[in-house]
């Protein structure tokens, strides 16, 4: 049996319930999966055997908040008034059930400061020994920090591969212009000028490559998001080429270009002028 996630919300958010079955909101995915429509009356039960079933009226549909931790989970969810959820889930054996909740979400005034969340959770845990409080920010970010490091490591390897690629091209280009460089040396152009020219060329190729790469990524992000959003039926954004990422790519390209240009010019200038002009 498919598990239906029931989320309780405070009564005020749905407004006053009219006579008849109480109102619920259903997720867009549940609406489509169960072929529901606004105004339909549905039966929900507290367990898989169908015990303690109650009827509810579908008052609306909502798009679940995109959650990267749940992106491959089908969001078959419904939101109930808190008292409706408690009465639906209770088997009547525990009188304290009607006054029990699972989780309290707290939004701190200075929520931008991670230290304040840690201090608050420590303080609350110390004062109320039966309540466990933890900052949510840390839990989520650890996983994404690891994924970020993984992607960075892959990016580093790709940059190393690209450097070898660019180096090989620059060396071929340098060999192609061996005689031209020899002639330039003969007419008095200094090694430093030639070296600068090759380095600038490498730099320009690297930056142009990075810019084209950013443009391809910017164009691809739309399709990547479309594919993954359709695959997982979510509004989560999987790929976003931000200005920071674009700038980082271009900044990384600078040393790659310089190294490629320097090595290519070294292969040229380590030879004597007569060797360059084949004399």
């Amino acid at each position: 049996m498919r598990v239906l996630a029931l989320i309780a919300v405070v009564a005020a958010t749905l407004g006053a319930a009219p006579a008849g079955p109480p109102d619920i909101l259903v997720s867009r995915q549940l609406l489509a999966r169960a072929h529901l429509a606004i105004g339909d009356v549905v039966t929900l039960a507290g367990d898989s055997s169908g015990a303690r079933a109650r009827r509810f009226r579908v008052a609306g549909v909502y798009e679940p908040t995109p959650d990267p931790m749940k992106f491959n989970v089908e969001r078959i969810e419904a939101r109930l008034h808190l008292d409706d959820l408690l009465s639906l889930a209770s088997d009547g054996t525990d009188p304290a059930w009607a006054d029990a909740i699972s989780v309290i979400n707290v939004n701190l005034k200075n929520s931008s400061d991670p230290a304040s969340a840690t201090a608050f959770s420590r303080s609350l845990s110390a004062r109320t020994p039966f309540i466990f409080a933890a900052p949510t920010r840390d839990q989520a970010s650890t996983t994404f920090l690891v994924i970020d490091r993984f992607h960075t490591a892959i990016a580093v390897v790709t940059v190393i591969g690209s450097t070898a690629f660019l180096l090989a091209l620059m060396v071929i280009r340098a060999e192609e212009r061996k005689e031209t460089v020899g002639v330039l040396r003969l007419i008095g152009i200094s090694s430093r000028t030639i070296m600068t020219e090759v380095i600038v060329e490498g730099l320009l190729v690297a930056i142009a490559g990075a810019v084209v790469g950013v443009l391809i990524a910017a164009g691809a992000q739309h399709f990547v998001n479309l594919i993954f959003q359709a695959r997982y039926d979510t509004t989560l954004v999987f790929m976003r080429v931000s200005r920071t990422i674009a700038m980082r790519s271009i900044v990384v390209a600078v040393p790659v270009g310089v190294v490629a240009g320097a090595v290519a010019s070294w292969t040229l200038l380590r030879r004597g002028t007569s060797a360059l002009v084949r004399r």
């Binding site: 598990v3 390897v157 190393i160 070898a164 060999e175």
Partner: protein, 403 residues
């Protein structure tokens, strides 16, 4: 001279570019190889993990998924009922609780307390020192405990040490008194996260930690099928006996895991292996094309000397194969090294079982890696070969002479 010898000589003549091309292919090939390891690594690693337990069927509550911890009510009679089936050789169950290690003058340290009906631990731990829950050592009036290696190291616990444990009751407005356990063994717990503090004890010890009052539930129940029946038939027999429970063979569990868990890494491996293959193709195709363009005169001269078009094309194909082949060979150790680094990064994910790895070698990955590289070498050589065989000999030679 054969086409291969000609290609080898060309590579040696243009040594710098050949070395750089091989290096580029090796780096990108290493990444490609790693993505192939990643595509099935988690599934293979998970299969190793579940098959190492010595039990081949996992039983969970009726409303839970195969990987979730849905408790089974009336665990002891259920275990006996299942154990009596002719297809079943052995059944065991375990329970878990959040607890804390209590030490005098030190703050409590959080840990996971496991109660096991099987003194050998259902295969969920691998012994490092001491013995299982059957072992002697320390005060024998205390329940035995096998603890995780990081816990033993950090809390300086050895075989025979006494450990205070207090269970944390979830959803209850009460606190349990601490109980003492004697350490009989130190083990690695591959299903728990890397540096987790884990204490496994007998069901008696687990009940004592709960003040002697414990409902008869089990988070996990494992069964071992008889070889004559096999796990699938045994799982079907359990499902028939108790339709309110779910029984999965290890194979079914792995298939379910492959379908639902860590889909992100499978997809990223597909995307990156495709991208790296395309990158390798671009690298080799560009280098060969530029190289042929630079050697147009040489190619025209060879053809003028009477060397057949087919041989020229074969030389270029060999050149491509040499660059990609050598790069691909170097990619294997480089990829293994890179896989270790990437695996270490990813295994820092919170709550990940210590025994789970993302990059796992299998011969199939090697075959696929070789096939991708072979295809890259052939496709990358097509355009340069076409350039070389379509070259107008007289015009090219004239142009080369004039220039």
């Amino acid at each position: 001279m054969t086409a291969f010898a000609l290609a080898w000589r060309t590579a040696r003549r243009y040594r710098a570019r050949a070395v750089l091309a091989v290096a580029g292919v090796a780096v990108i090939g290493a990444l490609n190889f790693d993505m192939l390891l990643l595509s099935r690594g988690l599934m293979l690693s998970f299969a190793d993990l579940v098959n190492s337990t010595g039990y081949d069927i996992r039983i969970s509550g009726g409303s839970g998924g195969p990987l979730s911890r849905q408790p089974i009510d009336n665990a002891t009679p259920t275990m006996k009922e299942i154990g009596a089936l002719p297809e079943i050789a052995a059944v065991a169950f375990m329970r878990t609780a959040t607890a804390a290690a209590i030490r005098p003058t030190r703050p409590p340290e959080g840990l996971e307390l496991i109660g096991s009906s099987d003194p050998a631990g259902l295969g969920i731990w691998k012994q490092v020192a001491g013995s299982t829950l059957d072992g002697a050592g320390g005060d024998v009036s205390l329940p035995p405990a096998v603890i995780s290696r990081p816990m033993a190291e950090r809390l300086n616990l050895t075989i025979g040490s006494t450990l205070g444990v207090r269970v944390r009751l979830a959803g209850e407005l009460s606190a349990m008194p601490a109980v003492s356990l004697r350490v009989t063994g130190v083990a690695d717990f591959p299903f728990e996260s890397q540096n987790a503090f884990v204490v496994a004890t007998t069901m008696e010890g687990f009940a004592r930690a709960h003040g002697g009052v414990l409902n008869d539930q089990a988070e996990f129940m494992f069964a071992r099928s008889r070889p004559s029946a096999g796990p699938d038939a045994a799982a079907a027999a359990i499902a028939k006996l108790r339709p309110d429970l779910r029984a999965f063979s290890n194979e079914q569990l792995v298939a379910n895991f492959a379908k639902n868990a860590f889909a992100y890494f499978r997809q990223i491996s597909v995307v990156l292996s495709t991208t790296t293959a395309a990158f390798s193709f671009l690298l080799v195709a560009t280098l060969l094309t530029v190289s042929v363009n630079q050697r147009l005169g040489e190619v025209a001269a060879l053809r003028a000397l009477g060397i057949a078009r087919r041989k020229i094309a074969a030389t270029l194909l060999w050149e491509s194969a040499l660059l990609v082949g050598l790069g691909g060979l170097f990619a294997l150790p480089l990829g293994q090294l890179l896989a270790m680094v990437l695996d270490r990064i990813l295994r820092r994910m919170p709550g990940l079982p210590a025994g789970l790895h993302f990059f796992v070698f299998e011969p199939q990955s090697l075959v696929l890696h070789a096939a991708v590289l072979a295809a890259t070498a052939v496709v990358a050589a097509i355009y340069p070969m076409w350039l070389a065989v379509k070259l107008p000999i007289a015009q090219t030679l004239r142009q080369e002479t004039v220039s």
